[in-house]
Every structure is written in structure tokens, then in C-alpha cells.
């Protein structure tokens, strides 16, 4: 109660944007806008151009076609692709200069410069070749599992899609959900309790596990949303702190109530068979039905954001919370509900991780998914389908990274380097533009 009272003076003074009521709200849409703004500048023009094209006929159609070309060449899609390319190049340089073959060949560079170049080529092509084969198809592998890495890619992508959606959704309301990690852990913990402590008939059991996981994640995300709405506590800080609290909490539970009595490690018993996602491609591949849940979630979130009233409210709040409030929208309710949904999505990511891939709950169930989710959402430019494809790309990096570590002896950490560089470059389009001397599309888009 007193929290809402406190918000009033803060929001009435326009000069204090950092006041508790809205520290993140005005800053984040504006600044996230750097990736988002290009999308926003491109997007409204596209439907309007199409609208024109439907009615009058040829000339406008051409302009819409050239619009598409321009969009691809200088717009966000091209920037994303170039960002990936530049990041891979930098990663390649790192791989080459730390390779002993390259450094020894460089020792006699002036005697035989071609040897150095050959060594560099060998080093990079070996590493990225292994990455590619591990993520897609490897004709040389001995087993079928090894040969079709594409399914491993999709397995890794599944939790990334869901948690990426979680970050994306919160983004659109102007909230920065760094707490996917905690929400995944809580989701997995709730799912685990239902999954290995309770016996239920098949079908219903899996459904119950998913509901429990969503509730767990929603609870954890909801805390941040509630505190943001009622006290103005910055969601970035609250979610970071909740991540660590979640790790400690699950460790405590795994040492006591949830511990597998037959193990000396803090891990849970195995999930019941009825609580697990069915495997999609038989026992040889890890790919499970969680992927279908993830794809359904993309469709639902896409509908929610673009077609529903609630989504309109969310986007309005994200664009300008003050204007949304003036228009009669309940901004604080928006913050709470979006964090509940966002948390539920991350919780579902935890469910797919536990009931699909890991089968046993441990404190590291979230792995790096929580932070990867942020990079996925950024690469996907905070759009549901963009997030979907970004998640598949990062899933491929994960699947391929493992094969690269084994076959080319390049540490999987290089994947983290490449991923973070991609996001940095995408977040700063002017940088990529200046590297490739691309003309800025934004002014054209606005005038068109």
C-alpha cells in the first residue's frame, strides 16, 4: 500500500527519470531501441507499403519489392547476418593465433609465408568444419547419433527457445528479465517435485509436471514483477539476486528434502517415466516432445504480442509507460502479469530441460541457458520468430561446439566468445555499418 503512495510523487516530477517508480522503464525501451529502433523503423513501413500494394497495382508493388531488397541489404536482417560473420571471423583469428601449428609456421614466415597461411587455413577450417558437422550432418561419424547432429542442435535449442521467449516478452514491456536462470531452476524444481515424488497416470503426469514448472517459474518471475510494480525496485537487480537465491535454495532442497537417498551427491532421484517428454525420434536421439511445446509457445507468444489486447497494452507500456498510463492502462498490472508469463515460459524451459534432456535435477540444471536466453532474445530482435531462429543458431553452436572440442581440440569457450560478439555487433548497428560501409537505412525508411 505504502509503496504505491510512494510512487506518486516520483512519477509526477518529470525531471527525475531515475526515481524508483520508473528507473528502467524510460531508459530501457530507449536504449534497447538501438536494436529495436531499426526494427521499429522498418516494421511499420512494411505493412503500409503492402497495404498500398494490394489496391492500386503495379508501380507500388515494385516499390514494395525494392523495399524488401533494401530492407534485406541495409536493414536489420543484413546487420544480423554480418554480425554473425564478423563474430565468426574474430573467433577464427583467435583459434588461429592460439594454434601451435600456426605459431610454429609463423616462426619461419619470411622464409615460407605460404606455410603460415596454410596453417591458418587448416586451423580455422578444421575447427569450423567440426562445428558445422557437429551441428548439422557428419558423414564421417561412426554412429547414427553422431552423424545427425541437427537433432542435437534442436535438443539444445528447445530450452533456449522457451527462455529466449521469456526474455523477449519482458523486453517488449520495457523490462529486462535477467532472471531466466532462477526461473528455470524454480520451474525445474517444481516440475521435479511432481515428476519424481508423485505417481500419476501417463499423459496427466506430464501435463501436471508442465503446469507445476510453469507455476514455479511464474512465481519467481512474479516476485520481480510485483516488486517492480509496487515498490519500483529495479527488475534487473532483483532478478540477478533471485538467480543466486534460487541456486542456494535448490542446493538446500537437494541436500535435504529432494535428495536421492541412494546418492551421496546433492541430486534428485530420476523422474518417473510417465513424467517425461516422449522422445521424438526413438531412443537413439535425445530430441524430445519439448520442442513441440516450444514451437507452440512461439506461436502463442507471437499471437499474444501482435494480435491480442494484452499484447497491445504490453507494447504500449514498453514504448512509453507514462503515455500508457495516461491512456488508462494499468502499468503496474502490466509489469506483474508480464513477469508472471515471462517466468512461466522460463519455468517451462526448465521443464523441458529436466523432463526431456537431463531427467535428474541438480543445482546446475539451468547451466548457461539463463544468460544465453538474453543473447538469443537480442539476436532475435525481441520478436518471437526471430527468437526461435536465434535459439536454433545458438543450439547449433552448442551442439557443434562439443564436436569442435573433441574433433578439433578447440575449447568450447570459443562459442561463448562468438555468441557475445554477435550480440555486441547486433546491438550496435552503426559499428557494423561502418565496418562494411553500408548506408543507413533508417532515414529512407522514415521518409518512405
Amino acid at each position: 500500500m505504502s509503496g504505491t503512495d510512494k510512487n506518486v510523487p516520483a512519477e509526477q516530477t518529470p525531471g527525475t527519470p531515475g526515481a524508483p517508480g520508473n528507473p528502467g522503464a524510460p531508459s530501457i525501451p530507449g536504449a534497447t531501441g538501438t536494436p529495436g529502433a531499426t526494427g521499429a523503423a522498418g516494421k511499420p513501413t512494411a505493412p503500409s507499403a503492402q497495404g498500398n500494394a494490394d489496391k492500386p497495382g503495379k508501380p507500388e508493388k515494385e516499390s514494395s519489392a525494392s523495399q524488401v531488397v533494401r530492407e534485406i541489404m541495409s536493414g536489420s536482417a543484413m546487420i544480423s547476418v554480418l554480425a554473425v560473420v564478423v563474430a565468426l571471423v574474430i573467433g577464427g583469428i583467435l583459434i588461429a593465433i592460439t594454434d601451435t601449428r600456426v605459431t610454429t609456421a609463423f616462426g619461419y614466415f619470411f622464409g615460407d609465408p605460404m606455410a603460415t597461411l596454410k596453417a591458418i587455413w587448416a586451423s580455422i577450417s578444421e575447427a569450423y568444419g567440426a562445428l558445422w558437422r557437429g551441428a548439422t550432418y557428419d558423414p564421417g561419424a561412426r554412429t547414427w547419433q553422431g552423424r545427425l547432429g541437427i537433432f542435437e542442435t534442436l535438443t539444445f535449442a528447445t530450452p533456449l527457445i522457451l527462455s529466449g521467449l521469456s526474455v523477449t516478452l519482458a523486453f517488449r514491456v520495457g523490462l529486462f528479465n535477467i532472471g531466466a536462470k532462477g526461473q528455470i531452476i524454480l520451474g525445474a524444481t517444481f516440475a521435479g517435485v511432481v515428476g519424481f515424488m508423485i505417481e500419476l497416470p501417463p499423459g496427466i503426469h506430464l501435463l501436471a509436471v508442465m503446469v507445476a514448472g510453469a507455476i514455479g517459474g511464474a512465481l519467481w518471475g512474479g516476485i520481480a514483477g510485483f516488486l517492480k510494480a509496487k515498490t519500483g525496485a529495479h527488475e534487473v537487480i532483483v532478478t540477478i539476486m533471485l538467480n543466486y537465491i534460487a541456486v542456494s535454495l535448490v542446493l538446500y532442497l537437494l541436500k535435504n528434502q529432494l535428495r536421492d537417498p541412494s546418492s551421496s551427491n546433492p541430486i534428485s532421484p530420476r523422474m518417473h517415466e510417465t513424467a517425461m517428454f516422449p522422445l521424438l525420434l526413438g531412443p537413439n536421439y535425445r530430441l524430445h516432445a519439448g520442442l513441440i511445446v516450444a514451437i507452440l509457445a512461439v506461436i502463442v507468444v507471437s499471437w499474444l504480442l501482435n494480435r491480442s489486447t494484452l499484447g497491445f497494452e504490453y507494447r504500449a507500456i514498453g514504448a512509453n509507460p507514462r503515455a500508457a498510463r495516461t491512456a488508462g492502462m494499468l502499468v503496474s498490472r502490466g509489469y506483474i502479469t508480464v513477469m508472471l508469463i515471462s517466468g512461466a515460459l522460463a519455468g517451462l524451459a526448465g521443464v523441458t530441460q529436466l523432463a526431456g534432456t537431463e531427467k535428474i535435477l541438480d543445482a546446475d540444471i539451468a547451466g548457461s541457458i539463463g544468460f544465453d536466453a538474453i543473447t538469443v532474445a537480442l539476436l532475435g530482435r525481441s520478436k518471437p520468430w526471430g527468437t526461435f531462429f536465434a535459439a536454433i543458431l545458438f543450439g547449433a553452436f552448442k551442439a557443434g561446439g562439443t564436436s569442435m572440442a573433441i574433433n578439433a581440440n578447440v575449447s568450447i569457450d570459443i562459442v561463448a566468445v562468438v555468441q557475445s560478439l554477435i550480440v555486441l555487433f547486433i546491438a550496435a548497428p552503426p559499428l557494423i555499418r561502418s565496418i562494411f560501409r553500408i548506408k543507413e537505412a533508417r532515414s529512407e525508411g522514415v521518409s518512405a
Binding site: G30, T98, T231, A233, I237, V238, M241, Y252, L424, A428
Partner: protein
């Protein structure tokens, strides 16, 4: 005049009328907790605090306290203070500072006695507790000073973790190659600055969201150090990992001061990093709040437009502060590999950068406050590792949660109000 004052009076009254009940409620809950846990569930044994080490010049006798009696006493004081806080809120609208401070101190003492009285060993060396805590406090403190520097100028620094890690890695590598720990220390500062260069470049020049940059830089540094660790540091030459055997910074004892009980061994038997830390906290506090430089930095962080209007170069101030913060955090990172342990390992900062962020917020963006918060978090962390060895009434995991839970309480206004500099996180684009 009189008319104006009259018209303003109700406003003031309104402002006073907005009283927050959060703090009295929190104190009340804690007081009830004290009564239930310290008295009803309290241990009946004694708790022994060893104050002197055997090697100390001045021997101070051990402090032996009956746990139950202390629990009763602590609970009575807590309940009284909570009642006082409630009355003050009702009558005056706000609580005197000393009430909260005393409550906190008394509660922590009660907690310590309860924990130690309940352990099987039932005694604890205070020196060990505090000097062990310094192992955790030092990096946290350097990290939070990095945060103070950049956030006071209006740049959110989530990349503290990355700066610490870069410092730790570089210090280990350079100190191993040169065989000189001081060169390693310098290199660590440079590495921290390099991370800051990226932070400044992307957040100030390219106006990318500062939180995004920070999060991504952490991943980048973790990946980069992890990759180079595998590639370089694990390479064995003649069976030795020669690139991961850094020279150590020696401990320097200050003659008289190091003999003071508890404080001496904790603060005055340290490496050069530790002394630098003490100077840094005081210097930063003085610099920020008592000098022209500090006024300018704070102006840039609170109201960049106004600062620009009076001729302060906003973005240059921000860049310089972010770079300085990077150097500070880099040195803090060097503490891991040059003092605390003797080699680098992957992701060895283990989230201390985020605790530093918590300390920064809990200390309300004030160097002294952040330092005290870092000390509190360090003690909690060390207590956790001590307690994991002895059977205790409280699980170590709950102590591990403490810094984070306190920070959430602080940002949501239960423990005073932690307010960031007004323009923190807002890029400044000159019109």
C-alpha cells in the same frame, strides 16, 4: 511572504504524511524471529569467541558467553527497538537512524551467538573469521568501487564480474611470464581497463543499452579467459604449467598496528592490494563528496544536461570514470591469483562481481557504505564456509542467500531506500 509560506505548508505536511511502514514491519518480523529462534529454539550451551591468536603480542582472554542468556537479552532489545520504531513512524513519520543501526548490530550479535552456540565445536576464532572474510571481501570491495566510479557518473556497470575475471587471468599470466607479481598487478589493471574500453565504447559511443553491454561483456570475458586458459595455461612445458604459476605478492606487516587484536591481523597484515583497498575507499569517499571532481562526477550522474550546460564534458567524464573503474576492478581481480590462491582457474570469480553489485546497491552507491556492505557479505560468506564444516542449526545455503536477499530488501525500500544516481543507465546524447 506569509502567503507563500502558508501555501507551501500543506505540501510539506503531505510529504511527511507519506510514511512508510515497511521498516517497522520488517523490524517487527525480525524481532519475532529473534524471540522464536534465539530464545525458544535457542541452544543452551555457551559460545566461545577467541579473540587473540597464539602468536599475538597482546593476549586477550577468550570471550565465553551463555547462548541462552544472550538470546533472551537480544530478543528483549530487538522487541523494544521494533516497538520504538513503530512509535516513531506513527508520531514523526520516520525512524531515527540509531534505532535501525542498533537493531542491526544487536541482531547480528544475537545471530552469531545463536549459530556458534548451536554448533558442535562451540567456539570460533574471531581473527580467523575476519581475516578469512577478507579473502571474499577484498574482491567484492574492489568490484563495488568500480561500480561506484562508473555508476556515480551514470554508467551502469554490470560488467564488474568480467573486469574481475579479466584482472585475475591477466595477473596470473603476466606474473607467470615475468616472474614479477607487481608487473602482473599492473597488467591486471590494464586488463580491467580494456574491458572498460569496450563498455565505454558500446554504451557511450554507440549508445547500446548499458545493461546489455554489461551482461554480454561478462559472457565475452568468461569465454575468452576460458578459451585462453585451455589453450595457453594448460600447455605443459617440461611437465609444468609454466603460464599458470604466478609469483605471489608478499604480505607486509605494519609494525605497531598489526598487533591490535582482531583489527591488526585483519587489516594490517596484508599484501599491497589490501592497503591500496583501504586508501581507495577513503580517497573515493573524499573525492566524490568533498572535491570539485566529485561534484562534477555526481552532477554528470544525476543530471547530465545540467552538467553539460555549465560546461562539463559529460561523455568524457563518463568514459574516464568507467576506465578508472576498470583499473580498480582489474586490481581486485589480481587479488584472486596473486594473493588468495596461487593459480588461475576457469570462472574463478564465481559470481563475486554480482555480489559486488549487490554491495554497491546495499551501500547506496557510497564508497564507505559499499565497503561496509562488502565486509558484511564477506563475513557471511566466510561464516558459511566455516559452518559447513561444523554441525549448525542453520544451513550454510541460507547464509549464502543473505547478500542477495538483503539487496532485494534494499532496492524495494524495506531497508531504507537504495536510490541509484538519477541518470544511471541513461545515455547522454548532446542536442
Amino acid at each position: 511572504m506569509s502567503i507563500i509560506t502558508k501555501s507551501e505548508t500543506p505540501k510539506v505536511a503531505d510529504a511527511v504524511a507519506v510514511r512508510s511502514w515497511k521498516l517497522p514491519i520488517l523490524l517487527g518480523v525480525l524481532a519475532v524471529f529473534a524471540v522464536v529462534v534465539f530464545v525458544v529454539l535457542g541452544p543452551s550451551g555457551t559460545a566461545t569467541f577467541r579473540i587473540s591468536q597464539d602468536t599475538d603480542a597482546w593476549q586477550v582472554p577468550n570471550l565465553v558467553v551463555p547462548a541462552k542468556a544472550v538470546g533472551v537479552l537480544v530478543s528483549i532489545i530487538c522487541v523494544a527497538l521494533a516497538y520504538l520504531a513503530w512509535r516513531q513512524t506513527r508520531d514523526a513519520g520516520k525512524i531515527a537512524k540509531w534505532v535501525v543501526m542498533t537493531f542491526a548490530v544487536v541482531f547480528v550479535v544475537g545471530m552469531m551467538v545463536w549459530i556458534i552456540g548451536g554448533t558442535t565445536t562451540q567456539n570460533i576464532t574471531l581473527v580467523g573469521l575476519f581475516s578469512g572474510a577478507m579473502l571474499i571481501t577484498t574482491p567484492i570491495l574492489f568490484g563495488s568501487m568500480s561500480g561506484v566510479l562508473s555508476e556515480r557518473a551514470g554508467v551502469v556497470n554490470i560488467a564488474i564480474e568480467g573486469q574481475l575475471l579479466a584482472g585475475a587471468f591477466t595477473a596470473a599470466l603476466v606474473a607467470s611470464i615475468t616472474g614479477n607479481a607487481y608487473v602482473g598487478l599492473f597488467a591486471a589493471a590494464v586488463a580491467g581497463v580494456l574491458v572498460s574500453v569496450l563498455l565505454a565504447l558500446f554504451s557511450i559511443k554507440y549508445v547500446v543499452n548499458q545493461i546489455i553491454v554489461g551482461v554480454v561483456l561478462n559472457v565475452l570475458v568468461s569465454g575468452l579467459t576460458g578459451f585462453l586458459f585451455e589453450k595457453i595455461m594448460k600447455t605443459k612445458v617440461d611437465g609444468l604449467t609454466i603460464y599458470n604459476q604466478p609469483a605471489h605478492l608478499p604480505n607486509i606487516s605494519i609494525p605497531l598496528l598489526s598487533e591490535i587484536p582482531i583489527i591488526g591481523p585483519t587489516l594490517f597484515r596484508q599484501s599491497i592490494i589490501g592497503y591500496f583497498m583501504l586508501i581507495l575507499v577513503v580517497a573515493l569517499w573524499f573525492g566524490l563528496f568533498r572535491t570539485r571532481w566529485g561534484l562534477r562526477v555526481r552532477a554528470v550522474g544525476e543530471h547530465p544536461k545540467a552538467a553539460d550546460t555549465v560546461g562539463i564534458n559529460v561523455n568524457r567524464t563518463r568514459v574516464l570514470n568507467v576506465l578508472a573503474g576498470g583499473a580498480v576492478a582489474g586490481i581486485g581481480g589480481a587479488y584472486f591469483t596473486l594473493v588468495a590462491v596461487s593459480s588461475f582457474s576457469k570462472d574463478m570469480t564465481g559470481g563475486l562481481g554480482f555480489i559486488a553489485l549487490a554491495a554497491l546497491i546495499f551501500g547506496r552507491w557510497n564508497p564507505i557504505g559499499a565497503a561496509l556492505a562488502a565486509l558484511l557479505f564477506g563475513v557471511a560468506g566466510n561464516l558459511q564456509s566455516i559452518l559447513s564444516l561444523a554441525g549448525t542449526p542453520i544451513d550454510g545455503q541460507f547464509l549464502a542467500m543473505l547478500p542477495y536477499a538483503l539487496t532485494i530488501l534494499a532496492v524495494s525500500g524495506f531497508v531504507g531506500r537504495a536510490l541509484a544516481p538519477a541518470a544511471d543507465g541513461e545515455p547522454y546524447i548532446k542536442e
